[in-house]
């Protein structure tokens, strides 16, 4: 999501791109929005007859949060004890 920058993404796209299940994704999105890291908006359907879709993107603070917490790499986790799972 951080890679998309200010672009909007949809829930199912995020599931596929992040390889996460919807049951994990949506609670994360809800919490990020609640804390001001994510903005969401309803977008008009691309084709007539389709429902409006909910789209998401990180806010400026959300992007800062993502930059401050880069994805862990396996080598980094092994070398840095702070990166090991509890």
């Amino acid at each position: 999501m951080a890679d998309t920058g200010t672009g909007w993404l949809h829930g199912y796209d995020l599931c596929r791109q992040g390889r996460v299940k919807s049951g994990t994704l949506y609670p994360l999105l809800m919490r990020l929005e609640e804390q001001g890291f994510l903005e969401a908006e309803w977008q008009a359907p691309a084709e007539p007859g389709r429902p409006a879709r909910h789209a998401y993107r990180l806010t400026a603070t959300g992007r800062a949060l993502a930059r401050a917490n880069p994805p862990l790499r396996l080598g980094a986790a092994v070398n840095d004890p702070r990166g090991k799972p509890a």
Partner: protein, 363 residues
């Protein structure tokens, strides 16, 4: 078929979500419409349901009665699923669904029952216990037991919804009048006889004695144990009701998923007691009594021909479970900042962008 099922599941997820998050349910439903493959749509829908359930549980943990009501809805739903799989008559399904609706309505109307109990003292408890006694003396008899009343053609078992109230009322006040209510209820259960509810009362009083030992509590425990012993000494020849009694075993014969639904429903009924006991130390006695009473009812259903709480011939146990949640505190006692990691963060810490803290509790 799979797409229709996926749609129904996502709609259920939207209903389960706490009110401030309902828009997210609409978002899930809209997203579902864009998924081409039915299998992927179904997997997406199940994920949404699991996520919504976690959100609902997390939200309602701060409202013990709401959590218990949610568990009652879930348990009754699982009970209905079992009944459908077992081919139970439609009237059974309607009765159980109606019991759930009436119970939820009663809980809504009597939300301030705790205050009523404080104002009325144990007089309310004595009145309730006398209703159990009247049932024992003048109720409908069958197979040597007198524990039912006929209401509009439906046989109700009042002790299933009145005994937990008496036990929780005593746990709340522990005054002389509430003790008298327990003694009357114990006598009534011995007279009926009803091993399951006498055992439930004894289990509730034992839990209270462990949490808050005292003279009155020990007297109540003694009376409840004596009543339970009396019911054990008397023959209980009630046959198993089809689709209702002994279903912990028979449900697996219907289908393994039906059996799992019954087990999951029974486990769900204990969630409020466990969650409250862990999260709300100041009200542990009430949660201990609630948990002990319903665990005993569940065990009785597993061991003998007694109603399984999440399904019933008349829905009395469903009604009882919902009414008994009025004995739980409306919300946990205030304990400073609380236990949630996010809530305990100091302001300067909260300003630091920490992904783990931000996502804690999200699932």
């Amino acid at each position: 078929m799979r797409r229709a099922l996926a749609g129904a599941i996502v709609r259920l997820a939207a209903v389960i979500l706490p009110a401030p998050l309902r828009d997210w349910g609409r978002a899930m439903a809209a997203e579902l419409g864009t998924i081409e493959r039915p299998g992927a749509a179904l997997a997406f829908a199940f994920g949404c349901l699991a996520g919504a359930f976690r959100q609902a549980m997390s939200s309602h943990l701060h409202r013990p009665r709401r959590l218990a009501a949610l568990c009652a809805i879930g348990a009754t739903g699982l009970g209905l699923a079992y009944m459908i799989a077992a081919g139970a008559p439609l009237s059974y399904l309607a009765t159980n669904a109606a019991a759930l609706a009436i119970g939820l309505l009663a809980v809504g109307v009597l939300t301030d029952a705790g205050r009523l109990w404080r104002i009325g003292g144990g007089a309310v408890g004595i009145g309730i216990a006398c209703l159990i006694l009247l049932t024992s003396l003048f109720g409908v008899s069958a197979d040597g037991a007198t524990r039912w009343i006929s209401a509009g053609g439906i046989l109700l078992q009042p002790d299933l919804f009145l005994v937990p109230v008496v036990a929780l009322g005593f746990a709340r006040t522990r005054d002389s009048a509430s003790l008298l209510a327990v003694l009357i209820a114990a006598l009534a259960l011995a007279l009926q006889p009803d091993r399951a509810m006498a055992g439930a009362l004894a289990a509730g009083m034992a839990a209270l004695a462990l949490a808050l030992p005292g003279r009155k509590v020990l007297v109540a425990l003694g009376a409840a144990l004596a009543a339970f012993a009396a019911t054990l000494a008397r023959a209980d020849a009630s046959p198993a009701m089809p689709f209702v009694d002994q279903i912990f075993y028979s449900s697996f014969g219907v289908h393994p998923l039906a059996g799992l639904a019954v087990l999951a429903g029974a486990a769900l009924m204990l969630v409020p007691a466990i969650a409250g006991y862990v999260r709300d130390p100041d009200h542990r006695p009430a949660y201990a009594v609630f948990g002990a009473v319903w665990l005993a009812v569940i065990l009785a259903a597993a061991l003998g021909n007694y109603p399984t709480p999440l399904v019933g011939y008349s829905g009395s146990a469903i009604l009882g479970y919902l009414i008994s949640l009025l004995g739980l505190p409306p919300r946990p006692a205030a304990r400073g900042a609380g236990r949630d990691g996010a809530a305990m963060q100091s302001e300067p810490e909260a300003q630091q962008p920490d992904l783990r803290a931000s996502l804690a509790g999200a699932g």
